[in-house]
């Protein structure tokens, strides 16, 4: 039984229980399971799953390669399109992407397990720690990439592979971006994000410079002067505020920080969590924070979302995951005041009614925001880019969560980083 002391305390559960709670959400497929799962693919023409994949991985081909006993070749098919295919296999909301599009979802309500098959293939290659690509002849070009998250890593890898020398700067002390700091632990176990970065850097020609943030330690003018091209994949480092009374109470914090702490800790029992936790928001970050609070031993965890279920950006699968872990979902409510040990929620249905529920810890997960626009033109609250990732400034490209367009997903960031890299390369080599 969890320790039910009120307040925010560590070690509500013992180490063994925590270890079980934070084990792999989706255990890897065994060899036999992979064969059975791969057998189900129909090898569709112009397959809908490929269309649904932001990185356009040739899914029927890689599954056929698994089915015929060549998982290494399958992994190559995946990495050709998505060098972070290992992480995407773990964190992609496949239920709203490839697996939703799978014709067997239409036929039987049971799609081919594309995500787990992708993990099977990529794990096979990564377990060997062999990097499958070689660099092309040197282009003599030097590229600065700002942000070592999925977009920056994908861009950097592609540029290095094409023969340019790449320096990737990151504000954090460690590369990986949200893969390393922003995803629930049970989706990326055994330090996978860090291992993936190491494996990716196996291409060579990439230097990581950690602890350097755009706006603080780096200026776009300097980078533009020193490098042949600049790619910005800085993500959204700022957190939106609630603007309610009590927001600065001691028990109120950002969900992203909580998630990052969880990922970086070596001892889950050392992490304090409230007895009654309320998470404000309706996205993946809200679900990740809520579920992990529950797994750490919180007695009651509530997600409070200001609109209805159908507006939630967390997928139905994520909602079900939260519910299955015992998280309560409240809809059409938003905080009106935060008191010591309690939160007041106002219904947004026009009734004017409010409800108070116990809350010794409140997490804000109502979206993130750009830290700096670096003098670039914005589209809404993000850096404006064209279809190639070009910003308003010549020689500067951007992609991932910081750039306009696309969903804020790892897989989208990878696609944007990759495509921007191709455009950078073409521009530099073609002299455009």
């Amino acid at each position: 039984m969890p320790d039910t002391t009120s307040g925010i305390v560590a070690a509500r559960l013992n180490g063994d229980v925590l270890k079980t709670n934070f084990a792999d959400l989706h255990a890897p497929l065994g060899e036999h399971e992979a064969t059975v799962a791969a057998d189900r693919c129909y090898f569709c023409y112009d397959a809908p799953c490929v269309t649904a994949c932001p990185t356009s991985i040739d899914i029927p081909l890689f599954i056929r390669q698994i089915a015929t006993g060549t998982s290494e070749a399958a992994a190559k098919t995946i990495f050709d399109q998505n060098i972070l295919g290992g992480m995407c296999a773990r964190v992609c909301p496949t239920e709203t992407l490839c697996e939703q599009a799978c014709v067997r979802e239409t036929a039987e309500g049971k799609p081919v397990e594309i995500g787990r098959l992708q993990r099977h293939a990529t794990d096979t290659v990564m377990a060997k720690q062999a990097h499958p690509y070689q660099r092309a002849a040197s282009t003599g070009k030097r590229i600065a990439v700002v942000g070592a998250g999925p977009a920056g890593l994908a861009a950097g890898h592609r540029l290095a592979m094409l023969g340019s020398d790449v320096t990737i700067f990151d504000a954090r002390t460690k590369a990986g971006g949200l893969n390393e700091f922003g995803i629930a632990s049970y989706k990326s176990t055994n330090d996978f994000a860090a291992r993936e970065v190491d494996w990716l850097l196996g291409i060579g020609g990439i230097t990581i410079e950690a602890g350097k943030a755009l706006g603080a330690d780096l200026s776009l003018d300097d980078l533009s002067a020193q490098y042949d091209a600049v790619f910005l994949g800085v993500g959204l480092g700022g957190v939106n505020s609630l603007s309610v009374d009590g927001e600065n109470e001691s028990g109120v914090s950002d969900a992203v920080d909580f998630i990052a702490d969880l990922r970086q800790t070596s001892d889950l029992a050392s992490l304090p969590v409230g007895r009654d936790v309320v998470v404000i928001g309706g996205g993946m970050t809200a679900v990740d924070a809520a579920v992990q609070s529950k797994l750490l031993g919180a007695r009651n965890v509530t997600i409070a979302y200001r609109r209805g279920r159908d507006c939630m950006s967390a997928s139905p699968y994520e909602q079900d995951l939260a519910a299955s872990k015992g998280v309560q979902l409240m809809f059409n409510v938003q905080p009106s005041a935060i008191h010591q040990g309690e939160i007041e929620l106002a219904y947004t249905d026009g009734s004017g009614e409010t409800v108070r529920i116990p809350a010794d810890q409140v997490f804000k997960a109502i979206g993130q925001t750009l830290v700096t626009d670096a003098g670039l033109k914005l589209d809404g609250r993000k850096i404006a880019v064209d279809a190639h990732g070009r910003t308003s400034r010549a020689g500067v490209w951007a992609g991932g969560d910081c750039a306009s367009g696309g969903d804020d997903l790892t897989v989208t960031a990878v696609a944007e980083g990759r495509d921007a890299a191709m455009d950078i390369h073409a521009s530099l080599m073609g002299g455009k």
Binding site: D39, Y42, C44, D46
Partner: protein, 434 residues
């Protein structure tokens, strides 16, 4: 309730499902269990001559090919005839027959092509009380190298000769089991009939290599790094077997000769199909070896339900019903015109029909940007490939055109008169229609 009792060659059995001569019928223990499970009869695993029995390899005897989900589609074997002493088998057959008088027991035999060898063994088999014998002229490996099995089945004169000896020295039904490893199965069947055979059974197994080990470069099953061709059976061979059965059933010289159908019978439906093509009963092996004896329960219930639905009271009512509909290509009605039709309600939009038609056939399926697949009637030749590759049963169907409609592909009015190649103007050897 349909009566599944059959009287094949006058041998009564409670249903038409017999176990074929093979490992499942090699000994008393198995056969008793088979009868308890409900099998109508067995053909006891092939007996050889008196004396030291044959020996089998001590490594793997079977190889396989698989369909989706490792479903066994084809099996091959390099096992020989029974490797147990003749006397032991004869004693067991005697005991089992005495205990199961209502079930058919046929004894499979393979001895050298010498009259004395047959003259010696037949009285011993007769003494068991078994209901008949089956001459194994089909085993394609091992025994055939010694001048028996398929080596006999491939020479019609030998078939006729041995069959005649058996009819001379044995007074119960003689079934000749045929090998498919020949060019025209009608020849050995006719030879068996000339020799006096009461029936033929077919097919025996087909020469096969199921796989090659790409590490050791040995065919599988591998015996110390070497492989020999085996005999292929299972669901994969059913189409070959049914074609051969139909050839014998409709050939003037062999028409009416009782047939026991063998080759990939796995379900009641397979059995019904063989029987419709003229088989008085069927023999099963691979399905039992894959799933165990219990499958006969499904065969019995399924055939029974189907017969009730069709109004058949006895199996003899539908045996051979499909034979008149097996014909030569030249007699097929060229005025019959069909078009593929895709049910949009059932379509799951996989596009396999499109890939197949566009890449390998007649470019007769259109694909829209939102993945709606539709048949282009003016291109469709009704080849059926789309039907065959569609993963959803009955999603694509072949719809016959009505007489008087215009085939948009040819611009011709569909006629309801029958016309075949023999009278077609493009046929250089065409004869004028009378």
């Amino acid at each position: 309730m349909a009566d599944l009792t059959t009287h094949f060659l006058g041998i009564k059995s409670p249903n038409p499902f017999w176990l074929a001569s093979a490992p499942p019928t090699d000994k008393e223990y198995n056969v008793r269990r088979a009868f308890e499970a409900g099998w109508g009869g067995v053909v006891w695993k092939t007996l050889g001559m008196e004396g030291p029995p044959v020996v089998n390899v001590n490594g793997p005897r079977y190889g396989a090919i698989y369909g989706a989900d490792r479903r066994l589609m084809g099996l091959n074997n390099i096992e020989l005839i029974t490797d147990r002493p003749l006397e032991v088998n004869l004693e067991e057959i005697t005991r089992v027959k005495a205990d199961y008088p209502d079930r058919a027991i046929i004894v499979s035999i393979m001895v050298p092509c010498e009259e004395q060898a047959w003259k010696d063994i037949l009285p011993k088999v007769a003494a068991t009380g078994a209901d008949g014998i089956e001459l194994n002229f089909g085993c394609p490996h091992g025994m055939s190298e010694r001048g028996m099995g398929a080596a006999v089945g491939q020479v019609p004169e030998y078939i006729e000769m041995v069959t005649r000896w058996c009819k001379q020295y044995y007074d119960k039904p003689v079934i000749v089991k045929l090998t498919p490893n020949i060019t025209d199965v009608r020849k050995p069947a006719a030879a068996a009939k000339r020799g006096g055979a009461d029936a033929v059974s077919l097919i025996n197994t087909i020469n096969s290599i199921t796989s090659v080990n790409l590490d050791t470069m040995s065919p599988e099953p591998s015996i110390d790094g070497k492989g020999s061709h085996g005999g292929y059976c299972g669901p994969a061979v059913k189409p070959i077997a049914m074609s051969m059965v139909s050839e014998i059933a409709r050939h003037p010289e062999t028409h009416g000769l009782p047939i026991s159908g063998i080759g990939g019978v796995t379900t009641w439906r397979d059995a019904a199909e063989f029987m419709a093509l003229g088989c008085g009963n069927v023999q099963v092996c691979t399905a039992a070896m894959t799933y165990g004896f219990k499958i006969v329960q499904e065969m019995i219930s399924g055939l029974s339900q189907w017969m009730d639905e069709k109004g058949f009271e006895n199996t003899s009512e539908f045996v051979g019903m499909a034979v008149p509909n097996v014909t030569d290509w030249q007699y097929l009605n060229l005025n019959y015109v069909a078009k593929a039709k895709i049910s949009q309600d059932d379509c799951i939009k996989c596009g396999r029909c499109y890939a197949a038609c566009e890449d390998t056939s007649h470019q007769a399926i259109a694909m829209s940007a939102d993945r709606v697949f539709e048949v282009i009637d003016s291109e469709c030749v009704a080849c059926n490939l789309c039907v065959d590759v569609c993963p959803v049963e009955n999603c694509i169907t072949m719809e016959p055109m009505k007489a008087g409609e215009v085939d948009p592909r040819t611009g011709k009015v569909v006629s309801d008169t029958y016309a075949n190649w023999t009278t077609h103007p493009n046929n250089p050897g065409a004869v004028a229609a009378e």
